[in-house]
């Protein structure tokens, strides 16, 4: 299930709902990403995310499809916020389920790397220093590249 919306994400509820949906999968992993109160630019007062529907959703669907081909998943949920968020609010929730933990961990990690670099979002940070559009950090690209290297091997 993929949802990109301005609606507030309650990660605890999202996890419970996911657990109910996948039954006795065996292994469930979830990741919650929140707006950090401090960034390299200063104290963060808000973060604004733009998406471009349906391009954003289509890209996430492709990444999910790749994850499903790579790992035997019993299910996956991806919830992503758009609009204006305050520090501490949940930006993204990813949950994966599989028979064993490794597949669930790796699939969640892969999906998060996609969401942090390639996903169609534009991000504006407002800090005590002003507003700035943020592009992915080099670390994010390196994290995402790990999966490419594995493919070549």
């Amino acid at each position: 299930m993929i949802r990109v919306s301005d609606a507030v994400i309650d990660a605890s509820n999202a996890l419970r709902e996911f657990e109910r949906g996948v039954g006795e999968a065996g292994a469930i992993v979830s990741f919650t990403g929140q707006v950090r109160p401090v960034s390299a630019a200063g104290d963060v007062s808000s973060l604004t995310l733009q998406a471009y529907s349906p391009m954003t959703e289509r890209g996430i669907e492709r990444a999910l499809h790749q994850a499903q081909e790579k790992w035997p998943l019993a299910g996956a949920h991806i919830l992503h916020r758009t609009g204006e968020m305050q520090a501490g609010e949940t930006i993204v929730f990813v949950a994966t389920a599989s028979k064993h933990r490794r597949a669930a961990f790796e699939a969640a990690d892969f999906l998060m790397d996609y969401l942090k670099t390639e996903a169609v979002f534009w991000k504006k940070e407002t800090t005590d220093q002003g507003e700035a559009w943020i592009e992915p950090r080099q670390d994010d690209y390196q994290d995402a590249a790990r999966w490419q290297e594995e493919k070549v091997d």
């Binding site: 990403g33 390639e118 559009w133 992915p136």
Partner: protein
């Protein structure tokens, strides 16, 4: 009439998030539109950067792609991830 959307930092350059336009004669491809908009907004090349991609009806296109079927055009700077 065509809807044009400016994403991310491009909206700071154009001053609008989106607008509905009548394209002038001669603006028949994505590349021509890019040039025309850059002049119109006095963007100093910000819309000409190769990293700024153009989507027609939410499909990424080339500069040579015709605007014949365009209902919605998006100018997209590099995505920032979530």
């Amino acid at each position: 009439m065509v809807k044009v959307i400016y994403f991310g930092r491009l909206s700071d350059v154009t001053g609008v998030d989106e607008e509905v336009l009548d394209l002038p004669d001669g603006v028949e491809t994505a590349g021509a539109l890019r040039n025309w908009l850059d002049l119109r907004f006095e963007a100093g090349g910000a819309l000409l950067e190769p990293t700024v991609r153009i989507a027609i009806n939410s499909e990424i296109c080339f500069d040579s792609t015709s605007l014949d079927q365009a209902i919605e055009i998006a100018l997209m700077p590099p995505v920032g991830g979530g």
